[in-house]
Symmetry: C2
Subunit: 408 residues, 2 copies
Amino acid sequence: MNYKKIDGGVTAPLGFVAGAAYAGIKNPDKISEKPDVAVLFSETPCAAAACFTKNKFCAAPVILGREVLKKGKARGIVINSGNANAATGEQGLKDAKAVEEAAERLLGLGEDEVFVCSTGVIGKRLPYERVIKGVEAIVPHMSRDKGGDAAWAIMTTDTEKKEVAYELPISGGTVRIGAMAKGSGMIHPNMATMLAYVTTDAKADPKDLQAMLSRAVDRSFNMTTVDGDTSTNDSIFLLANGASGVEIRTEEDKKALADLVEAICIDMARRIASDGEGATHLIEVEAYGLPTEHDARLVAKSIAGSSLFKAAVFGRDANWGRIMAAAGYSGADVDPTRADCFLKSAGGEIQVMAGGFGLEFDEDLAKKILSEHDITVIVKFYQGDGQAKAWGCDLTYDYVKINGDYRT
Amino acid sequence: MNYKKIDGGVTAPLGFVAGAAYAGIKNPDKISEKPDVAVLFSETPCAAAACFTKNKFCAAPVILGREVLKKGKARGIVINSGNANAATGEQGLKDAKAVEEAAERLLGLGEDEVFVCSTGVIGKRLPYERVIKGVEAIVPHMSRDKGGDAAWAIMTTDTEKKEVAYELPISGGTVRIGAMAKGSGMIHPNMATMLAYVTTDAKADPKDLQAMLSRAVDRSFNMTTVDGDTSTNDSIFLLANGASGVEIRTEEDKKALADLVEAICIDMARRIASDGEGATHLIEVEAYGLPTEHDARLVAKSIAGSSLFKAAVFGRDANWGRIMAAAGYSGADVDPTRADCFLKSAGGEIQVMAGGFGLEFDEDLAKKILSEHDITVIVKFYQGDGQAKAWGCDLTYDYVKINGDYRT
């Protein structure tokens, strides 16, 4: 694959504009510099694909989003942070619908052309009039250079903006792909996305887009965990507006776009894990040699999600026994007598287990490896070709602090 | 059921003796008052039942224990803390067998009459000679009043001894049942026992004992979670030596014993959760009205295991949205539009959700409720008769501290 990183995020592709405003969604009395309402808009109709949380207590915007998605096309997305509009019953659905309809009117669109997304506190009624006032303030001033403001507006406990964009040459010319995401807590496989948005100015079929997105999500966000809690609001969207005039035609084009969408999703998923609530380390887990890919996914996710191992990484303790314990309870078909385990980072690499048996190793080197921000755990079995990667972060005092008093 | 609490633990039933010694298992250079090797011994042969971890990386003593269990009888158990003898390969099996054989010799028993158990650090070779020296020191001085010493010896990060005993009148007379347990971290459903031992001087059939124990474990230890990590060493044993001369004969007898074994297991499981690593609250979750018991178990366990809700309880934050989010991702068939949620403790009771919709509630009362050590979460659905209880604890700074530097 041949592609080039460019500046910006969701508005780097042609024909997309964005804007953001502060509307006091969480607390109307608070003055804040950080915006909490964002609008993403395409000047021309988009083919649309999306994946949503599998949590049965899904939020109102997710229920609405599934409806809008049925048409396979959309023009805009309104996103608010500060309130998840989840566990808000029928009223929540009405409130989300009111935001959607107001946005469609303000953007001069027809019915079911706008997705709405919410993230923040669960169980409080959405101040929908404030969201609409935010959209009113944003619409007249949307532009291509405000993608970054939108990426800022959707953040909650995130400590950094997550956006990226690339140019991709395909058979008919060059297309651009951009993305933004948020998500820091309540992150766990089964559509562990939080909110993510991928845009492209390629012209593409919504069915192809959906296939690409589903595959990419499976290998990225669904392999990411911060705390084992699957959110009520997880949503990811892929919008293609065709503004480049370049069409996804050949199988090679599809594969190139699909691979880049997957790479972008993995990048976003890694950044979400790395920015996990309170995290001081990104943990990447690579599992090899399992009987099937499914087994490998179970092993990798289980290790990335082990509270004990996560706490050990925080303490820079090479407690590999917890890695193998997590592999053992993952539900995968693992043979404990033929397992190797390695720890790796920019600080070095060390083997800590061979054939299911612990090795004597240099504790100083292990500490050095675990002192880096990005840590890789490699587990190798010798039972087949199944392999997978998963991402997580360490468990820290600050995770407890952030979540011990988030609502109040 | 009609039964009475009595003093003591595993040696409260007639014919059981115990002892404990310090053998420097974790660190031979350290002087310690707390014993780390325990022996539990029955003066007459016992019918035996046991359940073991489902972790595929199970420890050597678990592999050995499954063998010994095949005979359905036993005389003694040797337990060491400080080293789990897990991920120690073939050598670990040999070391565990060496302990078993030495104990059988020292206790004057035949082959396969002693269970061995280990708990502590994973992946380090068991100093089996030290364990044997401990057994040598213990055997000449075992007595009925040393059950408490054994309960102390098996502790690792536990902050308190866990033992209990009861008298139970059945058709033929009175029998006694005692128990001890340890376990504080690496605790999660799927045989989330850590180590637990239940003794009785009733005379009973091993098959009946196994049925009782399996049912009790399913409703107690398997519904307990501290950190989501299923240990490599979880084991629970039920030994019946018949020393009371009273036989479990009638169906009523069986039911009475089974119910008391279940109550004891629930008590031990609650105490393990309450003494979870770093815990400042016991969280009991009651789920009602689910389509099936299986659904109810999924819901209760999911809520008890939610890192986000656990952190909220630590912060005394009535963040019920996280409760319902955990119910929603539990995998159970839940109808979010018909769910009620209550928080309860010695401090009071408050309803926080009705019909899937958040209620305005008195935040001061909620804080008061969450200030108590024992918190109950009640979720009610209206879809059927399935109900279940689960136990967990809050997630605290100290959990991170304890596990950030346990091995070194």
